[in-house]
Amino acid sequence: MNNKPQLHVPHPPARPGEKPDFSYVALSPAGAVPRPSPGANARDIESLAVELVRVLDDGHRALGEWNPALAPDTLREGLRIMVLTRVYDERMLKAQRQGRISFYMKSTGEEAVAVAAGMALDPKDMLFPSYRVQGLYLLRGVGMVDLMCQLLSNTRDMCKGRQLPVMYHSAAKRLFSISGNLATQVPQAVGWAMGSSIKGETSLAATWTGEGSSAEADVHYAMVFASSYRAPAIINIVNNQWAISTFQGMAGGQGPSFAARALGFGLPGIRVDGNDFPAVYAVTRWAAERARQGLGATVIELVTYRAAAHSTSDDPSRYRPKDEEASWPLGDPIDRLKKHLVALGEWSDEKHQALVTECEEHVTRSWEEACSYGTLNEGPRLDPLTMFDDVYHDMPEHLRRQREQLAKEKA
């Protein structure tokens, strides 16, 4: 009890120069959390929102009821996409440093929240991604060259030069257009899911947003609508501990977890080790089964760590200890899945190295091809007059005139 009141302002456990401290991250042992039936009553499974579903233990074995017992091929495919994502991220960061692209955002250290979740879903399920789940695109087979062309805003840019790098989309692969405005996709996903029910279809919608973004109104709308209409949706809140310089406790406040936000809406909330591939897979599959049974949405908090800078415009050493990542208790998703496969006798260091090399070659080849279609500063360029397309389905007179004016200006 304070004598003189003062404003309480949440603090991260450590700022630069201080000792990293993740004791605030509540852990459960691997295999310890029971797996209820996907048809369970939400009120009977509230503890899932504060425990931490984990499958992989420190000895790299998969344990417990949540173990999805995935076939080695599936695990290897997951590993491959995660490695590909990481290699892609590394190379694109380099491209940005070299001035070939203007901006980039890595997902390093949190590849599983995209890849494992995405693999647990049906290709017909619609995904509403944030900007930090690029693994979904690689998983669903959007061409790497296409992704790179978006980054380059070149002649083959799917966004026709209009969007900041990483704001991908793919209608064919059911990946919705990424918005620069945080969290707006979350209630849209619920609306899509409502549409699925209205049409009598079983496809669900899954969406990803950051823990910092969960403070936005849109996440509230999403929960309200998901709760009222029992929309077949999966709302993923990626708690990577940081929102630019702001630590998770600023959005989390005194709450027990982000998953627990779901409970007041009667939605299951599940807190899962976001760096544990089988755990993320299992939890997502559980939520998908539940949704397809007509029981509505689940909120999943994926606990992970943003190992990279927020973006290429950011320097995290200004606001968090440099060595913080080393203390992160949930390790690295690629490393853990790799060791699990090795422990299963289904993988080796050599094979892993070969995979990395293969991915690097793929990325390099793709990059060369992508650059051949132009970069921001060199090579062929999209026609600037296309900037007037797609504002509307037709081009109103005033835009036609502005287009003409620009044509003259450029002449």
């Binding site: 619609m126 918005s179 619920v190 049409k199 609508f225």
Partner: protein, 343 residues
């Protein structure tokens, strides 16, 4: 043909659309069982079922966001916002999302959502049930903005809007729901019963977006108006007995600049009129465009007749509302300008 007021015409448009196209759904606060606080959605839920006509939580941002998601999933949602004054919680989803989805995805995704909302004053609504926010949407590229002034146009424009393929902000001047209104609150209310535009086909027809209508031909001066002000303008010019041309914009974005410019070049004089506040309102756009296009034909400065730059005050509704007197003053100014005053 049938006699309809504007509520019935809007209701009839939704019946027509939903009958024909199973992807059309209607959603909003109190629109389901109750049929809407202005009764525009009456009977729809009974006819088309709860999956296609349903109440929503009171969360305008959620309504538009959900409608976007549904539209991306192939539906054609018509979302009702209970009053235009309550659309602002949805402003982010409209401005940042609805308006930009086609553009930012290079045309791969579209969100053809129609957002209907009653607007305007004259019903003792005070400052939060009287607003006309059209300029706040007209400035946002990627959405179209429509405001009908009569039942016939309301139905035809609503059908076009839903079919348009682009997001449309559909503003319904609620003072016109039950009858035309010439701006004089002291006269007994009239209904649409005897008004030619109160004749509305039961079935399908379209009034195209982006096309204004000349509702009165004339050569002395052009009045450009929309919504309630169309009726005020007609009454004012009738009262003055002048040979004015009155244009009902119907679509605010895109503007039918051609029709406007042709008229002003003919008349050489122009008054633009709306109920919304003046500063940076749509009247400014109209005036700016007209002086750009018709400068050499203008015989007098274009005048704006608008609501004042204050909230819409309950007790002074009729002092706020741009009625015939304000319009007549402006018309006199353009008909007989005094270069000494505005030199």
């Amino acid at each position: 043909m049938a006699r309809m007021n504007m509520i019935q015409a809007i209701n009839s448009a939704m019946h027509t659309l939903m009958d024909r196209d199973p992807s059309v759904v209607v959603m909003g606060e109190d629109v389901g069982y109750f049929g809407g606080v202005f009764r525009c959605t009456e009977g729809l839920q009974k006819r088309f079922g709860e999956s296609r006509v349903f109440d929503t939580p009171i969360a305008e941002g959620g309504i538009v966001a959900a409608a976007i998601g549904m539209a991306v999933n192939g539906l054609r949602p018509i979302a009702e916002i209970q009053f235009a004054d309550y659309v602002y919680p949805a402003y982010d989803q409209i401005v940042s999302e609805l308006a930009r989805i086609r553009y930012r995805s290079g045309g791969e995704f579209t969100a053809p959502v129609v957002v209907r909302m009653p607007c305007g004053g004259g019903i003792r609504g005070g400052q939060t049930h009287s607003q006309s926010p059209e300029a706040l949407f007209a400035h946002v590229c990627g959405v179209k903005v429509v405001m009908p002034s009569n039942p016939y146009d309301a139905k035809g424009l609503l059908i076009s809007s839903v079919e348009e393929g682009d997001p449309v902000i559909f503003l319904e001047p609620k003072r016109l729901y039950n009858g035309p209104f010439d701006g004089d609150p002291h006269k007994p209310a009239v209904t649409w019963n005897t008004h030619p535009q109160g004749e509305v086909p039961d079935g399908d027809y379209r009034v195209p977006l982006g096309k204004a209508q000349i509702v009165r031909e004339g050569s002395a001066v052009t009045v450009v108006a929309y919504g309630t002000l169309v009726h005020v303008a007609l009454a004012a010019v009738a009262q003055m007995g002048i040979d004015a041309e009155v244009i009902d914009l119907r679509s605010i974005m895109p503007l039918d600049t051609e029709t406007i410019v042709r008229s002003v070049k003919k008349t050489g004089r122009c008054v633009v009129a709306h109920e919304a506040t003046r500063f940076a309102g749509l009247g400014a756009e109209l005036s700016a465009t007209i002086q750009e296009e018709c400068f050499w034909s203008l015989e007098a400065p274009i005048q704006r007749v608008t609501g004042w730059d204050t909230p819409y005050p309950l007790a002074f509704e009729w002092e706020y509302f741009p009625g015939q007197k304000r319009l007549i003053t402006a018309l006199n100014k353009v008909l007989d300008p005094d270069p000494e005053v505005n030199s």
